[in-house]
């Protein structure tokens, strides 16, 4: 689960990490009121859950209340990287001497957390952990003890800091690491972590991503997960609450299958046949009839879906149950779309019979089902 910048910074602030003074605004009026309590110059930052916001025009600077009003007005009216701006963080602008970088992320190949520090701000963490460019210092982190103060000081020294600055930065890095571990973060990032002309440090921007699987032990964060305008659409939320893994995509062929790998392979086959999938939808293991019916209805209701491709490999999920759930959903929805199904496994013959009787097209291989679904759409669009 991704947190907004202002939420991440609030968390950091509560744990003693220096961040710029500021507050969150949901209206232009509020933005101006916040600025009046702060010292100019100001920075206004749109709160969206996507990177590259600065380049997309989501960050504005202002010298006085009039400029704050104008900038906030523009931001609230804009779409940044496809997201409508609902919240703007108004902060005092910090004087920057140089930008540094610090993050704790996952190092999957080492089965560990890794701390990444750099004397250059604004680096890309995904690249930094995959490759090993120079000027980046990496150290694996113990999940219980975290980053020791002595190791943190060594990292600060590598960055070129001495004396009090070395100690200050080491403390910030050690604390950030501890916050990440305490919150089950899969990424905690201060980027840039800046040094000011007077030699102090501030987390100017921060990203915090929490492990979804650990939300059961962070009830305060779990509450936020399915909030409106956060990470997921309403359809995605309904799917998740019912045990379905669903991701909306840009194409026109709706996909239903069981098993993440199988569904991905089905998507690839549609893509390979010259059309694009409208979604990823994994029913999961041992899907109930209710779950299958819900999945079918979701795709019938999706206006971008022109045809549906069902790929069920029956094990725990019985093919006849799946077939009945599909036909029931169609009857219930009272409207249908071309459906191409591939069913194999437990009670395969019965399942196929049920679908054929309902007028659906049934195939023995997923290649064939995918090909036919794509062909049907091509004919339709001729």
């Amino acid at each position: 689960m991704k947190l907004f910048e202002y939420e991440a910074k609030d968390t950091l602030k509560r744990r003693g990490i220096p961040t710029p003074r500021g507050e969150i605004a949901t209206t232009v009026k509020q933005a101006v009121e916040i600025a009046e309590k702060l010292k100019p110059p100001f920075v206004l930052k749109s709160q969206i859950l996507a990177g590259g916001r600065g380049k997309a025009g989501g960050i504005r600077f202002a010298l006085n209340s009039e400029e704050v009003e104008r900038a906030a007005g523009e931001l609230f009216r804009s779409q940044i990287k496809g997201f409508k701006v609902e919240k703007v963080l108004v902060e005092e602008r910090i004087h920057v001497k140089r930008e540094l970088y610090f993050a704790v992320a996952l190092e999957r190949s080492e089965r560990s957390y890794v701390a990444v520090a750099s004397s250059k701000g604004g680096i890309d963490i995904e690249k930094a952990t995959a490759e090993m460019p120079t000027a980046i210092f990496k150290t694996l982190i113990d999940p219980i003890s975290g980053l020791s103060f002595s190791t943190a000081k060594e990292v600060a020294a590598e960055i070129g800091l001495v004396g009090k600055q070395q100690t200050d930065l080491a403390w910030i890095m050690k604390s950030l690491c501890q916050i990440g571990l305490d919150l089950d973060a899969i990424l905690i990032e201060a980027n840039p972590l800046v040094e000011t002309p007077d030699g102090s440090f501030f987390a100017l921007d921060s990203r915090l991503i929490i492990d979804d699987n650990a939300l059961f032990r962070h009830s305060d964060l779990a509450k936020l997960r399915f909030e409106k305008d956060r990470e997921y659409t309403e359809t995605e939320i309904e799917a998740m609450k019912n045990g379905i893994a669903y991701v909306k995509l840009d194409g026109e062929i709706g996909i239903i299958g069981n098993g993440a790998g199988l569904v991905m392979a089905t998507l690839d086959m549609v893509h390979d046949s010259g059309r694009e999938p409208a979604n990823f939808l994994d029913l999961g293991g041992g899907a109930t009839s209710g779950r299958i019916a819900l999945a079918v209805k979701m795709l019938l209701a999706d206006p971008t879906v022109e045809a549906i491709l069902v790929n069920i490999l029956g094990g725990l999920t019985r093919c006849d149950d799946a077939a009945r759930a599909i036909t029931d959903a169609i009857d219930d929805f009272r409207q249908t779309k071309p459906i191409f199904a591939r069913l194999v496994g437990t009670n395969e013959a019965e399942g196929k019979q049920i679908l054929l009787q309902a007028g659906l097209q049934v195939f023995g291989s997923m290649e064939e089902a995918a090909k036919q679904a794509v062909e049907a759409i091509k004919r339709e669009n001729c």
Binding site: R111, A214, M264, D268, G285
Partner: protein, 291 residues
Amino acid sequence: MGIMIHRNTEAIVQGITGKQGRFQTKLMLEYGTKIVAGVTPGRGGEKVHGVSVFGTVKEALTEYSPDVSIIFVPAESALNAAEEAISSGIKTITVITEGIPIKDSIQMMMHARHVGAQIIGPNTPGIITPGECKLGIMPHHVFEHGNVGVVSRSGTLTYEIAANLTRRHLGQSTCVGIGGDPIVGLNFIEALEMFKTDPETNAVVLIGEIGGNLEELTADFVAKNNYPKPVVAYIAGLSAPSEKKMGHAGAIIMGQTGTARTKIAAFESVGVKAAKRPAEVVDVLKSVLKK
């Protein structure tokens, strides 16, 4: 023979009294797996399908000497269950549980590595040596005894590809799912090491997917070690978008890292053929084996 588990492997089931544990124990027993005991805290003295239940792994060990454990306990207590097995000296532990917090998995792997135990998973369908032993939840009818090793990040794709292999008379030595999480125990490289010395394995099918860089590291390993047996790969997720979790917690492209394209390229650059579709794996394997 196969790797890790065989005819004489003795297993315990942790979480045997739960719905899934109970059901899968029945299926494993029917397959012929030697399940000597079950464990569920507070449920010692009960029986599940004739298997004695103990309150702790230590208690089970006073009567039996299992080689392996399979874990079905819920995500919140999976770490405890695994630590119990690890500290009791069990050296192979399959964790079926899905949804374990990453921090717990990291601790689990650290502890296992410290004492030389091997974790398979979490979030895996398990491992099967067809005709001998099944330690997992896979539909066993698609597997058949033979000489192809299979190692995979995906359950259903393993079934799909194993069924194709079986249909075309290419049985399997051992099929092992390494799990769909970002942090897993056994990885492709370790599985390849074991298949290398297994006399029953003549070739290996490797099923990967988007996310992480394990496939790239494995390609490196194959090249650097001049891997002696043919390897064929299939990678799912060529059409997957960036920054979206595709079902598995570990199936996510971050920035430019973890795309199917880079993984396929890594394999092909070291001479490992990658099938374009699951159904093509058998054809590619047959053409490689002919050489």
